[in-house]
């Protein structure tokens, strides 16, 4: 970058990542690094920007940079952000991601927006060297008889409506169609309530919370991050186990305090829904407990990534709690369709 005298723009998806890039570049190159985003607007030969700010300002600054680095570049193929790449004339481009796959299949656009893949290494290849050794464990729990009965009733309500409307949930727009139709009639609204209820029962049955208690006790000496699919479950866990919570409602100051508390050992565990999936550096964390999640491979790999930072001889464990004989089991199968989850057990470097 400096050797070739190319001005450089680094684009990252979150303010946390922008801050991390800014600190690292300033320390490594001992230069003043500019920032675009989060209320800052300072353009320098080396500048770090959020994707949002890059999109807003690329029309003006797109001719200023010779090299553009797209961090977490799986965000780039979206309708809006891809414009930022197109408005920029930088001949040198570098995209970085551990999870290029997108659920909409638009990762193929990366060839046009950034260029071809020049280097690829799987998580499994780096475990024990650049990344911590890790294992993943799926723990299946059962619903109580009362929960099971309620789950089946709610699910029947939902699926009967889907069938009566001839909606194919397996089609790409199937679920969207269900949501659209459910708002139009009373039966539809009841079906949607049923969908939500069966989902929330599968997300946090009593057995999962008991298992979570057991895991927190077992890992009382480690640092754990608990992940949930929804905020409601996250708050329930925070209240019940009195562990700090980070959601979109958490203010920056409290969020920083919670993360530093986890790093310093003031807290052994924190709970979050989705906001820590990406872009947060928590090197001390060695345990991830996925209480609930969606079917996205990307999200699941990102959650695993939170505990893989190599520190000393750290060994990381990802637990996935799944309610047996519910739709969640299939969801879990889908999100584990990645090399990172195939036959992982401790392995010596």
């Amino acid at each position: 970058m400096l050797e070739k005298g190319r001005s450089t723009l680094v684009i990252a998806p979150t303010l946390d990542l922008v801050r991390q890039w800014h600190e690292t570049l300033t320390r490594f190159f001992a230069i003043e690094v500019g920032i675009l985003g989060g209320g800052e607007h300072e353009v320098r030969p080396v500048t770090v920007s959020t994707y949002d700010s890059a999109h807003l300002h690329m029309e003006r600054y797109g001719n200023r940079f010779g090299l553009v680095v797209f961090d977490e570049c799986h965000h780039l193929p979206g309708d809006t952000y891809s414009e930022a790449a197109r408005m920029c004339i930088a001949p040198f481009r570098l995209g970085l991601t551990a999870t290029p796959e997108r659920s909409d299949g638009r990762e193929s656009l990366l060839d046009e927006l950034v260029g071809p893949v020049v280097y690829r290494k799987n998580i499994t290849d780096m475990a024990g060297t650049y990344l911590a050794e890790y294992e993943t464990r799926r723990i299946v729990v059962e619903l109580s008889p009362e929960e099971r009965e309620e789950y089946e009733q709610a699910r029947d309500l939902y699926l009967n409506f889907v069938r009566s409307q001839g909606i194919a949930l397996s089609s790409p727009r199937g679920f969207q169609e269900f949501v659209g139709r459910s708002t139009r009639t009373e039966a539809g609204r009841r079906a949607y309530a049923g969908y939500r209820r069966q989902r929330s029962l599968a997300f946090a049955p009593a057995a999962k919370l008991e298992k979570l208690e057991e895991l927190l006790t077992r890992h009382a000496a480690d640092r754990s991050i608990i992940f949930t699919e929804d905020n409601r479950t996250a708050y329930e866990i925070s209240r019940r186990f009195l562990v700090p919570i980070i959601t979109h409602q958490t203010k920056v100051k409290e969020r920083t305090d919670i993360l530093s508390g986890l790093a310093e050992g003031r807290y052994q565990a924190i709970v979050t829904s989705k906001v820590l999936n990406e872009g947060v550096d928590v090197p001390s964390a060695s345990v991830a407990i996925v209480v609930s999640g969606n079917s996205s491979v990307l999200e699941h790999v990102q959650r695993l990534g939170r505990i893989l930072r190599q520190v000393g001889d750290k060994r990381a464990t990802l637990y996935e709690l799944v309610s047996g004989n519910t739709s969640e089991a299939k969801t879990s199968d889908r999100r584990r369709e990645h090399a990172a989850y195939r036959a992982r057990r401790w392995r010596s470097p």
Partner: protein, 403 residues
């Protein structure tokens, strides 16, 4: 008391390129009043409940599918005119920190089972609160956790009237441009309206079309390149004021729906005249500071609100904000420009060039990015570009050659 409604709660229909509000029929109005009564009655009985609980209870009020939009809009308006407050005085962020740290210590030293109640009791002792109070306070800063302290002091009829006003505003908020015909009986009414528009820092043009007849052209929120909630809020406040000032008709070019389809919306307000209006309230703080500054008096300069109207080609009627006088000299007018239109400064320069006998100081913040050079060659009037804030001293320097 009022509130804005999102476009999904505005009942409209389209006729060709024209957008029309779907007015409430007599039967609909009767039903709207019934629903409003139920909402207000429910709120009256829910004092002390959390926002989340209140919303849940209001959701239980029955209505038909056709009435759902109306009911949601009435609920939204009733809730925004209710008072919600945090349930306790304990600071939740600090409290959470204490509880979670204590829990982490307890878990680290744990011999048998984690005792949640014991942790809460220990922290409760330290802050002088019971376990139940602690439970309530722990997440009391979250959205939906605030408790209802006062239901809206409104009749059902007033809530429905508010709904109708909010429907109208909801359409105007999607306007690119609004044209209003106004009947303003005397210059004082023109000045009052002008100051009201200027105080809200909106982009507008007011032109005299005949004796007492004016046309106002107002740039709407959708005319901005980047959507601005601030501009939208100020705009919504002004639309009501324009109607009350004596508008006889309004026509808006709106961008409607997800596809932002360009449509025309016409509205003929019922004749309303607002009562006595204290224009002094609508004075930007920088101008109030000039009026109250002792500096001018010390220099023998008298300052007051201006009462003259200027007619600037391309801009229409312009009312200066202040006028300065000193013994034996003609008055010097002063106008503080907004921070959104550089065009306004250019038009004033053209006018000043054509009116060499004029004596006006136009003041613009350096944030407007205009240079005093655009007044080069102009006699009498000038442009004062000030960095930071406008101070009496900066104005005094500009006045020195003119008074």
């Amino acid at each position: 008391m009022s509130a804005l409604l999102s476009p999904d709660l505005i009942a409209t229909r389209r006729r060709g390129d024209e957008l029309k509000l779907a007015p409430l029929s007599a039967a609909d109005r009767e039903r709207a009043i019934e629903i409003a009564q139920e909402i207000l009655y429910a709120l009256g009985g829910l004092l002390g409940s959390t926002e989340e609980e209140v919303e849940l209870c209001l959701g239980g009020i029955e209505c038909t599918t056709r009435e759902k939009k109306l009911k949601t809009a009435l609920e939204r308006l009733a809730l925004s005119n209710s008072t919600f407050e945090a349930p306790t005085e304990l600071a939740p962020v600090e409290l959470r920190r204490m509880v979670f740290e204590e829990a982490a210590r307890a878990r680290a030293e744990m011999r048998e089972k984690f005792d949640r109640k014991l942790v809460l009791s220990q922290v409760g002792e330290r802050v002088g609160a019971t376990r139940e109070e602690l439970e309530r306070a722990l997440f009391s800063d979250l959205k939906g956790a605030a408790e209802l302290r006062a239901a809206p002091a409104l009749s059902a009829e007033a809530l429905v009237a508010m709904y109708e006003e909010a429907q109208l505003l909801g359409v105007f908020l999607r306007a690119v441009r609004v044209r209003a015909r106004l009947r303003l009986e005397n210059p004082a009414e023109v000045r009052t309206l002008f100051w009201k528009l200027k105080f809200r820092e909106l982009l507008f043009r007011l032109e005299e079309r005949g004796p007492g007849e004016y046309e106002l052209q107002l740039e709407g929120p959708s005319s901005l390149l980047v959507s601005s909630t601030r501009y939208g809020l100020r705009f919504s406040q002004v639309i009501g004021a324009v109607i009350r000032a004596g508008a006889t008709s309004l026509e808006a070019d709106v961008l409607w729906g997800k596809s932002k389809r360009p449509l025309t919306f016409r509205h003929a307000p019922r004749p309303i005249r607002e009562g006595a209006y204290d224009a002094e309230d609508d004075l930007r703080p920088e101008l109030s500071a000039l009026l109250e500054s002792p500096l001018f008096e010390e220099k023998g300069i008298w300052v007051a609100r201006a009462s003259s109207l200027l007619h600037v080609p391309g801009l229409g009627v312009v009312v200066p904000d202040l006028e300065f006088r000193s013994a034996g000299s003609a008055p010097v007018f002063f106008e503080l420009l907004g921070e959104t239109s550089r065009e306004a400064a250019f038009k004033r320069a053209d006018w000043a060039r054509q009116n060499p006998s004029s004596r006006v100081i136009f003041a613009a913040s350096s944030r407007l990015r205009v240079s005093p050079e655009i007044f080069e060659g102009v006699q009498g009037s000038r442009l004062l570009v000030y960095p930071g804030s406008l101070t009496p001293k900066k104005v005094l320097v500009a006045l020195q050659d003119l008074l």
